[in-house]
């Protein structure tokens, strides 16, 4: 098991003829992901590395049975791509594109909800279930199959954390980037629920950052609903207020969204919080031992 993606994932890459879409479609395929189609309006009928390209998502789904999409189209058109995927019947939409206007994301998200699909991102590095499937832009070589579920708002920080996990022999069931934007699809809560139900996942690492209160809500949820050990890390402990720290959503505004509040919320919920990424593996092992003793 794993969550969201696995061996039966059939992926369509939206924007496959663009620079990033092209590069990562080939990388994903090389990793073993079942990339069944790509789309690019006007390029229908061509192939990229033996992957058939279609003009529309409707054709791609119809002719290849794709069930998951990865979006690489430019920001100004990405919300439209999300809606096209949902309307064409895609169940899981993973939007890699960064810089989409928030109001566009809100519309696209609400449309995806109406269609009963799931949205991950935008501004996400993607999802990987090591050894099974990878949808996104992650450096797959640092991941290893195992029992840790990883949920993160950031890309390279996830890699930093995962490399510490892998080097200590702690492999991953699935790692999910929820995206660094103000408004994104799935949040911690939904993913925590999925990891709780997933048999392969034995513990969970949650990588958060300043801005909003999703971490605080996650802490409340963990306190009551999650039985597996959870270790958290929060980036931006020393971030100045009212400044956007790279990610559109990483901003402390009107004094709220600070790392201190988030860390306090996790600690109050019995979640171990690592002060630095390299300490995460140790805390996982300790939390697992503690759960066993309980």
């Amino acid at each position: 098991m794993s969550i969201l993606i696995n061996e039966s994932t059939r992926l369509v890459v939206q924007g496959i003829t663009g620079r990033d879409g092209y590069f990562h479609a080939i990388k994903m395929k090389a990793y073993g992901t079942n990339v069944v189609a790509g789309t690019s309006p006007g390029k229908g009928g061509t192939h990229i590395d033996n992957i058939p390209v279609f003009n529309t998502m409707y054709e791609a789904v119809d002719q290849t049975g794709a069930n998951t999409s990865a979006i690489f189209v430019p920001a100004a058109f990405a919300a439209d791509a999300i809606m096209e995927a949902a309307d064409a019947g895609i169940g899981l939409i993973i939007c890699i594109t960064e810089g989409i206007p928030t109001l566009d994301t809100i519309e696209a998200y609400n449309y995806v909800q109406q269609k009963g699909a799931i949205l991950i991102g935008p501004n996400t590095p993607g999802v990987i279930s090591p050894g099974k499937s990878m949808v996104g832009i992650m450096p797959s070589q640092i991941f290893k199959k195992g029992g840790v579920g990883v949920i993160s708002r950031s890309g390279t920080l996830t890699y930093e954390v995962v490399s510490h996990l892998t080097s200590k022999g702690l492999g991953q069931s699935t790692a999910v980037g929820i995206g660094g934007d103000k408004v994104v699809g799935l949040y911690y809560r939904e993913l925590l629920e999925m990891f709780e139900k997933d048999k392969e996942t034995q513990s969970i690492v949650l990588i958060g950052e300043i801005g909003g209160n999703a971490e605080e809500r996650a802490a409340e949820f963990i306190r009551w609903e999650i039985t597996k050990p959870v270790v958290a890390f929060i980036a931006g402990q020393f971030a100045p207020p009212e400044k956007q720290m790279g990610h559109a959503g990483a901003i402390i505004s009107s004094g709220s969204g600070t790392a201190d509040e988030k860390i306090a919320a996790f600690e109050a919920a019995g979640v171990a919080v690592a002060r630095e990424p390299s300490l995460i593996p140790k805390l996982i092992v300790e939390s697992q031992l503690k759960k066993i003793r309980e």
């Binding site: 206007p101 609400n110 449309y111 950031s154 950052e209």
Partner: protein, 380 residues
């Protein structure tokens, strides 16, 4: 992007949202003639600065005669509020306040929608109301495909008023403010206070708006309002090159790929008792030219005692980073130590390129940060 009150009021007026009479002034003389032009006994002087808390800092004053206008305007133009100089003030009509309310539209991350908040307690911080008397705040999440039709605006209006004239007034304000918010890609549109005057009119006495940076490419009119400070100017220059830069007060220059890792780097420097001079996320690109540009930004900063480069290659390739660094070093003659940590895609090649160079190479993030902090201490 934030805009000034006077700019937000310009937008309000063009969307039919009533504001009090006001005149923008750049110096004391202009303030005095504005007072004469308004020809009212009482006026309010309001400092125009892009920061909160101006009331507490003395940036808002009710004045009743020409001499006071002169004196208070003069002292306001001398002020710095949260470090920002006051270059403009508004001379405004002092309306006869019967009661004050709060109205805003903003982004609700949790519900992934625009949220309307209305409160019977205006003129105070909404965070305070939320904390102590949350029952006085009325919230509605707005369906993007429905917007603010009459029935919804009326439903909100009846939360505050029974009088149909006032209901009609606030319905107009709700619909116009929502339209302004959506059409201009705002992230916040706030009226605090929304004043009911003794004459029975609703007037926006303050106006606060911020806009979505990701949408500025399609909002030319809003970009026109931009007034960056010196610090923000540097941040904007970096942004134009595809970086995200935030000025900090320390002496360790940072170059990192990815926002989360960049924040974690900053945190770990502080935990090791060093002081980051900046946050610089070079984004997910592998182009050696970009590395070169990032080095140029850092080397322009004469506060720096050491530079720390922390790269975890995913899309970014370590050999490209190394090439960019070598080129920058050769062209710009850096005379401060540079600590480099390269991990991930093509790390072997990248590290090999830096062998026998003047860069201090570290293998892990912790090692790199300890080295950088030591160098900054050594340099005194």
């Amino acid at each position: 992007m934030k805009i000034h009150e006077y700019q937000a009021k310009k937008l309000f007026s063009s969307y039919g949202i009533p504001v009090e009479q006001h005149i923008l002034c750049h110096n004391v003389d202009e303030a005095v003639s504005a007072y004469e032009e308004l020809n009212m006994e009482k006026v309010v002087l309001k400092a125009q600065v892009l920061t909160g808390g101006r009331g507490k800092a003395g940036g808002v004053k009710l004045v009743k005669c020409k001499t006071d206008v002169m004196n208070y305007a003069a002292s306001m133009f001398q002020m710095k509020i949260n470090g920002l100089p006051v270059n403009k003030i508004l001379v405004s009509e002092a309306v006869n306040i019967d009661s004050e309310f709060y109205l805003s539209f903003s982004i609700d991350r949790k519900n992934r929608s625009v949220i309307m908040m209305l409160s019977s307690e205006g003129g105070v911080e909404i965070e305070e109301v939320a904390k102590y008397t949350p029952e006085n705040i009325y919230r509605i999440n707005i369906d993007p495909f429905v917007g603010m039709p009459d029935y919804l605006a009326r439903r909100i209006a009846f939360f505050l008023f029974d009088d149909m004239d006032l209901v009609g007034q606030i319905v107009q304000i709700l619909q116009n403010l929502y339209q302004l918010f959506i059409e201009n890609d705002a992230s916040l549109a706030e009226i605090n206070p929304l004043v009911l005057t003794k004459e029975g009119n609703l007037v926006a006495v303050d106006a606060k708006m911020t806009f979505d940076d990701n949408a500025l490419y399609r909002q030319e009119d809003i970009c026109f309002f931009s007034e960056p400070t010196e610090e923000e100017e540097m941040e904007l220059q970096a942004k134009a090159k595809g970086f995200s830069y935030v000025h900090l007060t320390g002496d360790i220059g940072c170059m990192v790929n990815g926002a989360g890792l960049a924040m974690a780097t900053m945190d770990l420097i502080k935990l090791n008792e060093g002081y980051p001079a900046n946050f610089l996320d070079i984004g997910g690109s592998s182009n050696p030219k970009k590395i070169f540009e990032a080095m140029r930004i850092l080397l322009q900063d004469d506060r720096l005692k050491v530079i720390l480069v922390n790269i975890f290659g995913g899309i970014t390739r370590c050999d490209d980073v190394a090439n960019g660094l070598l080129k920058a070093y050769e062209d710009m003659h850096a005379d401060i130590p540079i600590v480099v940590r390269l991990t991930g895609t093509n790390e072997e090649e990248g590290r090999a390129l830096l062998r026998n160079s003047n860069f201090l190479v570290a293998e892990t993030m912790n090692e790199a940060i300890r080295k950088a902090v030591n160098q900054s201490i050594k340099a005194g």
